[in-house]
Symmetry: C2
Subunit: 238 residues, 2 copies
């Protein structure tokens, strides 16, 4: 029997699971750092530092201290702070361009071949904390064949809050158990399971670079586990 019986829609974590954010951000950061005479700053460290500000920024929204604010805005605030930390005085156009690096991330090599197969038998959509425009621009540039762009913005809640998962199932007209989250992150899957979704772990051992120490294995008995989107398609009989 194929994996995930009864699951009609697959929703995907994006940063790390669908695309390689660290390589993409480092690539574009390198351009801006060089332009401003800061070739001494390691672009991968810059990418990591930008990403470290991600959870605290969303936590302001999750806690209710701040109304729902889309990720492009949070990314920009975090970029401005990071540039200030490095005493880099990039102009507005450079900041806008670098902030859109999150729209220009490349998929892992197995992402698109796997999604094309999965789409033939299931409804597929992102369930990302990225905003609609970010995810749609990424898909348009990279040819990611989503059926719809879902996630924090239409749900108006950031993962791992239960509303992010439950409202996504509601938008899809499905019971939570008819939706599976596909993610490379055990924490995201744990929150999805708590909300009643099915779970699929896909290992991404170099999301954080060659010495990654987190999410190097499935930490619970997820409903299915795969090493790539193509293996996931195999397991689902797609």
């Amino acid at each position: 029997m194929s994996a995930l019986p009864g699951v009609k829609a697959l929703v995907f974590d994006v940063f790390g699971t669908v695309v390689d954010w660290r390589t993409g951000i480092a690539r574009d950061a390198k351009t801006v750092l060089a332009k401003h005479g800061r070739g001494d700053v390691d672009p991968h460290a810059f990418a990591d530092a930008w990403r470290r500000r991600y959870q605290p920024a969303m936590e302001e929204v999750r806690s209710g201290r701040r109304p729902f604010t889309r990720l492009d805005v949070l990314h920009r605030e975090n970029l401005d702070a990071l540039l200030a930390d490095h005493s880099i005085t990039a102009d507005e156009a450079d900041r806008q361009w670098l902030n859109r690096a999150w729209h220009r991330l490349d998929p892992w090599p197995d992402t698109i071949p796997g999604l094309i197969r999965l789409k033939s038998r299931r409804f597929i959509a992102p369930l990302s904390n990225g905003n609609i425009l970010l995810l749609a621009n990424m898909a348009k540039r990279a040819g990611i064949p989503w059926d719809a762009i879902l996630g924090a913005e239409p749900a108006r809640a950031y993962k791992p809050q239960p509303e992010a998962y439950l409202r996504t199932a509601e938008i899809l007209g499905l019971a939570p158990s008819e939706v599976a989250l596909v993610a490379a992150h055990n924490g995201d899957l744990a929150a999805a399971r708590k909300a009643g979704l099915a779970t699929a772990f896909v290992l991404r051992p170099t999301e954080h670079g060659p010495e990654q120490s987190t999410d190097t294995r499935a930490e619970q008995e997820w409903d299915t586990i795969a090493g790539s989107f193509e293996e996931l398609a195999d397991k689902l009989g797609c």
Copy 2:
């Protein structure tokens, strides 16, 4: 010079402009009417009657008398009332199937060839009162190549309220003048223009059947006017 200079995204009315709702609803209504021994009811008249309940149902939401409710729910309430009018006692499965007829509408013949060309040079998305699932299922079935699924549900406002147009531009990260509404309905275009969007009229002379008497011509000087999506692509240099 090509039409709509400065416009980066095209957003589309869907029912009537992208798809032929009347033919599609009549097709599936015919099946249910026959099954329940009501071959005497004209399926096109049934489609028209269902559609006549559309604006009053949304008006409950627009007026604030009712919280935002997605179109699948409004369609279902209207269907139940219409079946009661005809004393048809269809079971739950038949009602669910017929309500999803709105997810199974076919595009006009020029829709997909035109959209493929337009997508190559612009961001394209629906700006419909249909909910996300309805529009996404329609796109998946018919191969409509949207870049994202926008409209009343992510904007949480029904056209022609200004918020439906303005929040869509905001989601796209664009000024209203950088977004054009493409529609076969003068009223929709008038509301979009009032909100600051650019406007493109596409004539759909048989949306309401062979004796259509409304929207048979452009009633204002819209920014561009075309007889099909392919002609629109020509005018935009796509």
